[in-house]
Amino acid sequence: MSNDTQYDIVVIGSGPSGQKAAIQGAKAGKRVALIEQNREVGGSCVYQGTIPSKTLRESALQIVRFQRTTEVFEFKLRDDIKIASLMKRLDQVVKAHGQFMKEQIGRNNIDLFHGRAKFLSNREVQINGIDGKPLTLSAKFVVIGTGSSPRVPDNIPVDHEHILDSDSILSLVYLPKSLTVLGGGVIASEYASIFALLGVQVTMIDTSDRPLRFLDKELTDEFCGAFEESGGKYQGEQKIKEAHWDGYSKVITTLENGDKIESEKLLVALGRIANIKGLNIEAAGLTPTSRGLIPVNDECQTTVPHIYAVGDVIGPPSLASCSMEQGRRATCHALGLDPGGNPENTPMGIYTIPEMSSVGLSEQEVIEKFGGAIVGRSKFNEIARGQISGMTIGLLKMIADPKGEKLLGVHIVGEGATELIHIGQMGLLNNVKIDSFVENIFNFPTLAEAYRVAALDITKKRRR
C-alpha cells in the first residue's frame, strides 16, 4: 500500500461526531482522511435533521408572528402560503452551514473522500466511489460516525409520497390538510407541533400515555396544552396495527383497538436505526448489538481497541451536541491526549413549539436520591418579559434538595427554553446555591428573571 493511502486516522461519516473527530486529529498534527457518502459534508444533522427541522420551526414561528401582527397593521397575508417558501429559507440555511463545514475541513488539511466506506479488515477501509472505482485506505485508528436513518416498521410502507419519514417530510411543497404522526419521541413531537401551528390538522399516535415521557410531566402537560390549542390531538396508549395509502386520496392508519384514522399524509417517526449497513463491520472484528448499534465503552472505544464509534451509531442520547463531544474525545483518547474533564449535566433541548429543555435531575430522581425535594416554579406569564411578549405558555421549574438549598435540576418549557437552560447548567456545574439566584441581580425585564422567581418560591417552601 502506498504512503498516499496510509493515514493516522480514518473517519467514516462527516456528521457532527465524525467532523469533530477529524478536526481534533488534524489539530493534533495527524494525517486524517474523512469519508462521506454524500456530496455534501455535514450528515443528516445538516440535511435532514437538526438544522432543517429547526429552521422550519423558526420560519413557522415567524409566519405565525407575522400573521398576528397583520391585525395591528391592517393587512392580510395570503392564506395559501406554500410550504415551499418556508423550505426556500431552509435551503439557504442548509447551504450556508454546509459550505462553512466544508471550508472548516479544508482549512484543517483533512483529506475528504466522496464514497461509501466498507471495512476490508480492522485497519483497512475501502471507499467505493460514485464512479464505482474502489480505493483502499489503511489507518492506525478508525472512527465510525455514520449516524442513523429513520426506522421503517415492516407494517408501514413508507413511499415518501403519501407516507413519509422524517427525511421526506422536508420535501413537502404544500401543507396537507391533515397529518397523522406516528411516534411520541423528539422528532414526532417537533414536527407535530410545527405542522399544527401552521394550521394542519395533526393527530399524534403513540404507545406512551404522553409524548416525550422522559421529560418532566409538567413540561409535557404544557406542551400538550399548546398542541391542542393549535388544533392538534394526542392519542396515547395506542398500538399501530398497520397503515396504508388507500390508493385514492388518504392514508388510513388502523390501531390495534380497531380505530381507523384518516389523513392526507402520514409521518412515521418511530425511532432511528444506526447506519451500519454496507460497512461490513464484521470484517473489522466488530459485532453489532441486538438493537443494531455498535457497542462502545465510556471512551467510545469498540471491542477492537483502535476502532472508535461515535454519535447516533452508538445509540442514545443521539444529540448533535453530545455527538460532537464524543468525536473529539474519541480522537483524544486514541492519540493519548487529555480531553479534559468529563462533561456533566448535559442539557437536553427539544425544539417543539413551545420549546422544552432540561438539565440535571428530575423531581422524581431527586426524591428517590435525597428522600424529598423542594420545587420552585415560575410561570412566564407572571413575569414582566413574558407579559410584554404576550407569552401565555411557559414554565421554569427548579428542583432543590429537601432543605431547599442546593440546585439539582432545571426544567423549562416555553419560548427560549433551550437558551435559558444554560444558566441552570452553569449553576449546577458550579454548585450555585438557591439563595444566589435570589440575592443577585438579573437584567429586567428578561425571561432569566424566572430563575429568581422560582428560587424565591423554593425559599418560601423551606421548613421554618
Partner: protein, 291 residues
C-alpha cells in the same frame, strides 16, 4: 407558361423556418396555445382546499372524450380495479381525487397541446417521452427523498415547448411549398423548445418549480437552478432515462450511468441499477396513459 415550383433543400427550409421562428420569438408574436380549459379548471379545483370529488366529477362530465379516457385508464391493469369500472362516479371513488386530477390534467394537455394532425405518430412519441420522464422523475425523487408529486409534473411538462413549436411551424407561411420533414422539425424543437416552453409556462402560470425546470432541465443548466425541490436536476436524469428506455440506441448505457447529473444526484452504481430495474413498470404505466 407555368410557374416554376420552388423546390427547396432541407437545409434551406430549416434556415427559413428558423429565421421565422426566431423573429416570432423576438417580437413576442408567438402564438401560444391556451392551457386546455379542462386542464386549467382541474388545476384550479386541485388547488382549492375546499374542493371535493363532486366538483371534479362535474368538470370531467363536461368533456365526454376526457370522461371516456378516464374510464379506460381506471379499467387498465395498472390500477387493478376489483370489478369493471363503468361509471365516472365509480372511477372517482376508485382512483381518488388526487390521482384523478393528475389523469385529467395529463389527458387534457395531451389531447390539447399534444395533438397535431399529420404528425400523430411523432407527437405520440413526444407525449410518451414526457410521461416516461415524469414517472422516472417520481422514482428519482423518491430515491433522494425529494418531493415526488412535484417531480412528476416537472418531468411531464419539461418539454412542453416542443409541441408548441410543431404547431407554430405548421402554421407558418413560408415561401417554400415543400413541407418540412420531421428531422427539420425535430432540430428546431431541440433548438428552441426551452425558450418557447418558458413563454408558455409563464403564460399558463405554471408553479415556479415547474417553470424553472422547463428552463433549466438540460445538462448544462440544471446546476443553476435554485428551487429546493431540485426539479431541474431530477428531470435532467429522468429525461435521459426516458430517452434510453424509448430508444436504447439514443445513448450508450455506460454513458448514461456516468453522466454528471448522475454524480450530482449522488447516484451510486447500485442506485442506477435500482432505477434501471424500474423500466418495465414505468413502460406499462405509460402505455395505459397513452390515448
Amino acid at each position: 407558361m407555368t410557374t416554376p415550383t420552388t423546390i427547396s433543400t432541407e437545409q434551406e427550409i430549416l434556415e427559413e423556418l428558423r429565421a421565422t421562428l426566431l423573429n416570432q420569438l423576438e417580437q413576442g408574436k408567438l402564438d401560444l396555445p391556451l392551457l386546455p380549459q379542462v386542464a386549467n379548471q382541474v388545476l384550479m379545483v386541485a388547488d382549492d382546499p375546499n374542493s371535493d370529488s363532486s366538483k371534479l366529477s362535474s368538470l370531467i362530465q363536461q368533456d365526454q372524450a376526457l370522461a371516456a379516457q378516464i374510464l379506460r385508464i381506471a379499467n387498465s391493469p395498472a390500477y387493478m380495479p376489483r370489478s369493471p369500472i363503468v361509471s365516472l362516479q365509480q372511477a372517482i371513488a376508485w382512483l381518488g381525487l388526487n390521482m384523478l386530477s393528475g389523469i385529467a390534467f395529463s389527458v387534457s394537455v395531451q389531447s390539447g397541446v399534444f395533438n397535431v394532425k399529420g404528425f400523430e405518430k411523432e407527437v405520440k412519441g413526444l407525449w410518451r417521452h414526457a410521461m416516461t420522464t415524469g414517472l422516472f422523475g417520481k422514482e428519482i425523487a423518491r430515491k433522494i427523498r425529494h418531493n415526488v408529486e412535484n417531480a412528476f409534473l416537472c418531468g411531464l411538462l419539461h418539454g412542453i415547448g416542443k409541441p408548441v413549436i410543431l404547431h407554430t411551424i405548421l402554421n407558418l407561411r413560408t415561401t417554400s411549398e415543400t413541407k418540412p420533414t420531421w428531422s427539420v422539425i425535430e432540430q428546431l424543437m431541440n433548438e428552441y423548445h426551452v425558450q418557447v416552453g418558458k413563454k408558455l409556462a409563464e403564460s399558463w402560470k405554471l408553479p415556479d418549480p415547474v417553470q424553472e425546470t422547463i428552463l433549466m432541465y438540460q445538462d448544462h443548466m440544471y446546476a443553476q437552478a435554485t428551487s429546493p425541490t431540485k426539479g431541474a436536476m431530477i428531470t435532467c436524469l429522468a429525461t435521459h432515462m426516458a430517452s434510453f428506455q424509448l430508444d436504447p440506441s439514443s445513448i450508450e448505457e455506460d454513458v448514461l450511468r456516468t453522466l454528471p447529473v448522475v454524480q450530482d444526484l449522488n447516484f451510486y452504481p447500485e442506485d442506477m441499477d435500482a432505477l434501471m430495474e424500474l423500466q418495465d413498470t414505468i413502460r406499462s404505466s405509460v402505455e395505459c396513459m397513452i390515448l
